[in-house]
């Protein structure tokens, strides 16, 4: 085997320029793919963080049916205290959960005593919210960024609303809301901050303290609408979702309560018998911007397919040429008794070495470029995140996958010419001019 590789390596040096050009082409392809994966990964990470770290969290838990009617902000699909406790217990036992934030989401009328409009509100525990969505504070464009995110009696209002209603910091406003039973309540708040808006769900919400939310909605029990969860890393989303679903699987619905059509034991209209009354959603199921992340993945795949094409065509071309130019040599080898399998192995080894050479050089250059980009620190902005540093990185798995695919394709591309060489009739080959 070693002798075959030695001879294959010698054969590659026979046409040095051709070998160099082919290897350069493969190298270029690998550099393009690995750099794209690294840079796109960095950008994708920043984009995902924009949504997960300033609004959504990585995972959210709701009452079944809430997400389907999320635009209506239904108050009859809140999580009851026993359910919240059960979820809290599950979260404390699952590894990888960094923090969680319990929220009440509802709609209200917003008045500056002159004009009235609608507002979507998130009533949150400021400490929980800060730990779960750490970039939220960065969205405050006016007002203090220090201290608690929001305190009782205060409100953070979205920028567009502040501008439209001509509301400034320190102004008093009134929120009027209808609770689950249909009774109306109003409360005054002092504007303590203005929030920059971001695209996507909840990007234009106002924020009040959770105690104010419960007071405004006249809640007799500490219900919550959703629990947003932050994990140690995005990679843990599938596992934590799975474990959370398993831990909450015994929260089964009993069906609508007798005599109250459409109402379950917890006051829910969605309490189907035999099904879990809890839904667990990852961020990508809640944000339309997950399609952009998927598009980046698709682009990466497309570029990888192009690389496969480049390698396939260039190596096949080189190997076909090699076989054509060495017909007499192949005939000589066959005539002196070299088995067809050895001749096949020789040409496959040449393709393999070309692929390995391109993959090795390409990977080395890619890693150098990635390192350089990290040293130079290219900066960019995305959404609320200003002055982001492009921090491209690539995992060993991705490198091995790309290099492995290239080497495999190189061998596959050599297969047809190698097979042709091994099946060559020695007489015809020896007569070849």
């Amino acid at each position: 085997m070693w002798n075959i590789f030695k001879l294959a390596a010698r054969n590659l040096t026979r046409y040095q320029r051709r070998t160099m050009l082919t290897s350069a082409l493969i190298t270029l392809g690998i550099v393009a793919v690995l750099l794209f994966i690294a840079v796109a990964g960095s950008f994708k990470g920043a984009m995902i963080a924009e949504f997960t770290d300033s609004v959504l969290g990585h995972i959210q838990v709701h009452r079944r049916g809430y997400v389907a009617s999320i635009d209506n902000l239904p108050l009859n699909l809140n999580l009851a205290p026993p359910q919240v406790r059960k979820i809290e217990e599950a979260l404390s036992s699952i590894q990888g959960v960094e923090s969680y934030s319990e929220r009440i989401k509802f709609g209200a009328l917003f008045s500056n005593f002159v004009e009235t409009t609608n507002i979507r509100l998130s009533a949150v525990d400021p400490d929980q919210e800060q730990r779960t969505v750490p970039l939220l504070r960065g969205r405050i464009t006016e007002g203090s960024k220090d201290g608690p995110l929001v305190t009782p009696g205060h409100i953070l209002i979205p920028e567009l609303l502040a501008r439209g209603m001509k509301v400034k910091l320190g102004d008093t406003v009134v929120l009027v809301s209808t609770n689950r039973d249909g009774s109306v309540n109003g409360q005054q708040f002092v504007v303590s901050g203005v929030m920059g808006t971001i695209s996507g769900p909840n990007g234009r919400d106002g924020y009040i303290h959770i105690a104010d939310g419960r007071k405004l909605l006249r809640m007799t029990e500490p219900e919550v609408t959703e629990i947003a969860i932050r994990l140690r890393s995005l990679a843990e989303i599938p596992r934590v979702s799975r474990e959370l679903n398993a831990a909450l699987s015994d929260m089964i619905g009993q069906g609508p309560k007798a005599g109250t059509p459409g109402q379950g034991p917890m006051g829910s209209t969605n309490n189907p018998a035999g099904k879990s009354i809890i839904e667990v959603h990852s961020w990508d199921a809640l944000s339309p911007f997950s399609t952009i992340a998927r598009m980046i993945d698709l682009l990466t795949l497309f570029i990888q397919v192009m690389l496969v094409g480049i390698v396939l065509i260039s190596i096949m071309n080189v190997m076909i040429m090699a076989v054509f130019e060495r017909v007499r040599e192949i005939g000589t080898m066959a005539a002196i008794g070299t088995l067809p399998s050895r001749i096949l192995g020789l040409f496959l080894a040449e393709g393999l070495l070309l692929g390995l050479l391109g993959a090795a050089v390409g990977t080395a250059i890619s890693l150098a470029c990635i390192g350089l980009l990290n040293v130079v620190k290219v900066r960019f902005s995305f959404g609320m995140q200003q002055n982001l540093v492009l921090a491209p990185s690539i995992g060993v798995g991705s490198i091995l996958l790309v290099a492995g695919v290239v080497v495999l394709v190189a061998v596959l591309a050599s297969l047809q010419p190698a097979f042709k060489a091994s099946r060559m009739d020695p007489i015809t080959a020896l007569r070849h001019v």
Binding site: N3, I4, L7, R10, N11, T13, R14, R328, E329, G331, T332, M333, A334, A335, I336, G337, T338, L339, P340, R342, P426, I427, L430
Partner: protein, 230 residues
């Protein structure tokens, strides 16, 4: 026991609807240690006969035994294995592998075809390099040596695996007459030294004169065989 025995051996090539008989019912016997030549004008069937004996080309009809093996029925793989152990080849154009040195070219059949152990291989190659007088050129590549030297290397390569039979198709056609004479002498010396049977084709009268057994072919038929043992 003969090295080559042919009975009514024929070879017909078909080109479209035209059938060309290259060799017609040739019967012959070549004894061990012979220094035999197929002679005759171009197109007389010398190369075709050599190719059939060398198991490179199967006969269309007749029987052919090479070193007691009926080679007319060997399939492609069996023929390759038979060649690698039994037959050495010398080509008109030398056919050395350009990326290998003289030493590596001679070593090639032992390394790539027969898997000899390194030490034994090295010993055998050194012996052949010495025998053909190429020891001092051993590390050169074929493009750095003369035509005569290339053919010496080819002779050494043909003999390196101790074949019973060496077939040489016009081994001197691309050499000047002095070099041709030296190559034929070398082949004869190798026959004497290793006891290998040499069968070659030629249309050069000077080379013919060196043959001890001569088979004259005309239009694919064996018209005369003669012995010229000196």
């Amino acid at each position: 026991m003969s090295v080559v025995k042919a009975e009514a051996l024929s070879k017909v090539y078909s080109t479209g609807s035209v059938a060309v008989s290259a060799v017609k019912e040739v019967s012959l016997t070549i004894e061990p240690g012979a220094f035999a030549a197929f002679v005759g004008p171009s197109g007389s069937g010398k190369t075709t006969l050599l190719n059939m004996i060398g198991t490179l080309d199967p006969p269309s009809a007749g029987k052919l035994w090479v070193v007691d093996t009926d080679v007319s029925t060997l399939d492609r793989r069996a023929a390759a294995e038979f060649r690698c152990h039994t037959i050495g080849f010398i080509f008109q154009d030398f056919n050395l592998i350009p990326v290998l040195t003289v030493r590596e070219n001679i070593e090639f059949p032992l390394q790539m075809v027969q898997n000899w152990p390194a030490e034994r291989r090295s010993q055998r190659v050194a012996e052949l390099l010495e025998a053909v007088g190429m020891t001092d050129q051993a590390d050169k590549r074929p493009d750095a040596i003369s035509g005569g030297q290339k053919q010496r290397v080819a002779v050494a390569r043909a003999l390196v695996s101790n074949p019973k039979l060496v077939l040489a198709d016009e081994p001197t056609a691309n050499l000047d007459s002095d070099t041709a004479h030296r190559i034929i002498s070398l082949m004869k010396t190798m026959r004497d030294e290793f006891g290998t049977t040499f069968v070659f084709s030629t249309h050069d009268p000077k080379v013919m004169a060196e043959a001890e057994v001569m088979f004259l072919l005309e239009d694919g038929r064996l018209v005369k065989s003669s012995t010229n043992r000196r």
